[in-house]
């Protein structure tokens, strides 16, 4: 790259720092997307093709709130975003709860059928968003503090929304970890997902666990949707763009492992970001996907697999 040669060393250092951070913020994006699916697909073995649409729902909730705030209470603009995240979670959670009762609960142990049914669901949700909010793109008005960049030195700009995403992703991972592996509720989930009948026979209300777990996964997607309004647009079909990436991250990580999901999101994000810098966006995407598929062929169980004699 003759370009690089023409630039001073200090500048290069800044660019590399920023590029490294670009990888981190992509990592945060992947992680937020994949967390909900890691629960729904990784634990419950439901192939939820409508996962992207739950993300869209969360994003629309945020946009809706932002318009409300702008129109009716502009003073709250700097503070509304955390509330929007909570609302996005709640709405997506409730929607997920309803979907579990109405559809998913009939399809446990038929993973490939969940794929087809949730594909239908995703069409319905997309159209519902389109009918309610219009086909056009919309955007959330962000609080001023979340826009722009943090510039510790001249030439070095670290995007604030990227930092926010990264922080949010880390917090969410820790919360999910605590919930799944440190709480009694997580114990119930893990027991139920391993052996539904037996979990019932030791006194766990498995139906409720199923409903809440699925809804939780959807709620996490809602949070991801809210977070994405900081970097992207909202449109009815926005969610469907992420679905393949999300599945790749979860599968590559080793479906049932939270640590695996984190590692895989990191690996994929950093390699894509680095390749993007030296190649072009499309080539980077192709290389990363092919690489992941080859690795999955060598190691079908994913990066981290639980080793146990069953």
């Amino acid at each position: 790259m003759p370009l690089i040669l023409a630039t001073s060393f200090a500048e290069l250092k800044d660019i590399f720092l920023m590029q490294g951070f670009a990888g981190f913020s992509l990592f945060a994006v992947f992680l937020l997307m994949a967390l909900g699916l890691a629960i729904i697909f990784g634990q419950m073995k439901v192939i939820n093709m409508a996962h992207g649409e739950f993300l869209t729902v969360g994003a629309y909730v945020t946009v809706f709130l932002s318009h409300m705030v702008v129109n009716h209470a502009p003073k709250l603009l700097p503070y509304y975003f955390p509330a929007a995240i909570v609302c996005a979670f709640v709405v997506a959670f409730i929607l997920g709860y309803i979907v579990e009762i109405g559809l998913v609960k009939y399809l446990y142990n038929r993973p490939l059928d969940t794929l087809l049914a949730t594909w239908g669901l995703s069409m319905i949700l997309q159209q519902a968003c389109r009918s309610l909010f219009g086909a056009r793109e919309d955007t959330a008005t962000l609080p001023e503090w979340m826009m722009g960049s943090w510039s510790p030195s001249e030439g070095l700009d670290i995007p604030i929304n990227g930092m926010f995403l990264l922080a949010l992703a880390i917090v969410m991972v820790l919360l999910v970890y605590a919930l799944m592996y440190r709480s009694r509720w997580g114990l119930k989930v893990r027991a139920t997902m391993q052996n539904r009948a037996m979990a019932g026979a030791v006194g766990i209300n498995t139906k409720r666990v199923d409903r809440v777990t699925f809804a939780l996964g959807c709620g996490l997607a809602g949070i991801a949707g809210a977070a994405f309004t900081t970097i992207g647009s909202v449109s009815p079909s926005a969610g469907s763009l992420y679905i393949v990436d999300t599945f790749i991250v979860v599968v590559f990580g080793g479906a049932a492992s939270l640590l695996g999901t984190v590692l895989s999101a990191f690996t994929i994000a950093q390699s894509q970001s680095i390749l993007e810098f030296f190649l072009t966006g499309v080539l980077a995407k192709i290389f990363v996907l092919v690489g992941v598929i080859i690795l999955l062929m060598i190691r079908p169980q994913g990066l981290i697999a639980s080793k146990v004699r069953r």
Binding site: L112, L116, A117, W119, Q126, V244, L283, I286, L289
Partner: protein, 393 residues
């Protein structure tokens, strides 16, 4: 002869089902549909090839591929490449505009001109020959399926993982095709296909002939599918779906068998893709990617994942449903299609064929009792109709 009757036609009940389909395809549709709708039917039927392939590899072999669009697309692109080159050779005679004529290099597809490609890329050379194209239509996708299948099944990647990986492969294919637009026509695809060996495929008569060609090849694929399923291989497939290890320890190479059936499905898909290019005169990366691949699985699921004939009905019904709903309710048809998918998976996991198996005997009994009564009223007049047509499937 007798074994052939039993194996390819599937005995009596199979023959009846096939005969009904033939009547529908060769008589009722051509008589009842106008040329426009008949051409659409050819399009639907070219999807049915994929569905039949999926019945073999998913319904019977337990291998769900969400990447059938890949093979369908390769078949289609191979055929489209040939047709495009022919159109490009005749551009001077065909084009409506002097300017286009003046600016187009004869023998070079128009999109290459737009991308400043001055000579035909080497990978396009084989498509100058019709026979080589036909060969490639089958060889390229089958070889691809062989490579994917061998790599994945050796490593025992199966079930959901296989489905998701093939889906990703589809996506890779789409973005590569889009980005190499000088070679592939990019996101536009290969459009404006005109003649095949000098025969204008856009005329009414050509479309009718192509319709019958499609139907004939489709029936051929059903027969091949029947032949495979009725062989020992067919039973091993079912056995493999239910207990892979046992098959392995009966001395079979599971990965080879799986690869074989996956290749068969790929070849059938490719044939469908090639026919699509002929019928529609068009090939696009939009047809190759994830969404159509899922639709293809849905055709198969709606028809009944175990039934070859059901797959054809599934493809016709879902595609027609999509056309009909979107014509009637251009703003709301997503609701209707989505609802259909949910209802089918929820209430008819075995699709139409399952519903027929379930309802058929019941209707048969009703019919029988009705005939019985009729006979009681008119003693010698009515000969009982055999009711076992729907049984034994």
């Amino acid at each position: 002869m007798h074994t052939l009757y039993n194996r390819a036609l599937g005995g009596r009940s199979g023959t009846v089902g096939l005969a009904l389909l033939c009547v529908l395809l060769f008589l009722i549709f051509p008589l009842a549909l106008d040329n426009f709708r008949l051409n659409m039917m050819s399009k639907y039927l070219s999807y049915a090839f994929v569905a039949i392939g999926l019945v073999l590899c998913w319904g019977n072999g337990g291998i769900l591929s969400l990447g059938q669009g890949l093979f369908w697309g390769f078949g289609g692109y191979c055929m489209a490449a040939f047709l495009k080159l022919e159109a490009a050779r005749n551009i001077a005679a065909e084009s409506g505009s002097d300017q286009i004529r003046a600016l187009t290099t004869v023998g070079l597809p128009d999109f290459m001109d737009w991308n400043q490609i001055t000579s035909l890329p080497y990978i396009w050379y084989p498509f100058k020959s019709f026979s080589l194209t036909i060969l490639l239509v089958f060889v390229v996708p089958t070889l691809l399926a062989y490579i994917i299948g061998t790599a994945m099944f050796r490593r025992r990647v199966g079930g959901v993982y296989f489905a998701l990986i093939t889906q990703a492969l589809c996506w890779i294919m789409e973005i590569s095709f889009v980005t190499r637009q000088g070679w592939t026509g990019g996101i536009n695809g290969i459009t404006d296909l005109r003649t095949c060996l000098g025969w204008d495929i856009r005329t009414k008569s050509a479309q009718i002939i192509l319709y019958f060609l499609t139907c004939g090849l489709l029936i051929g694929c059903i027969l091949i599918g029947r032949f495979i399923l009725s062989s020992k291989l067919g039973r091993i497939l079912v056995a493999m779906r239910d207990g892979e290890d046992r098959v392995r320890f009966s001395g079979y190479s599971v990965s080879k068998l799986k690869t074989f059936i996956f290749c068969v499905a790929a070849a059938m898909s490719a044939l469908g893709g090639a026919l699509f290019a002929l019928n529609v005169g068009f090939m696009s990366p939009k047809l190759v990617t994830i969404e159509p691949s899922i639709y293809m699985v849905i055709f198969c699921a709606v028809g009944g994942r175990n039934s070859l004939i059901g797959a054809v009905y599934g493809a016709i019904l879902v595609s027609y449903g999509k056309t009909y709903f979107s014509e009637m309710f251009p703003n709301l048809w997503y609701f209707l299609m989505g609802g259909v998918f949910i209802l089918v998976t929820r209430f008819f996991p075995d699709g139409l064929a399952g519903a027929v198996d379930y309802l058929g005997p019941m209707l048969g009994r009703k019919l029988f009792s009705w005939i019985g009564r009729a006979q009681a009223n008119f003693p010698a007049a009515v000969v009982p109709i055999p009711v076992e047509a729907n049984e034994g499937r």
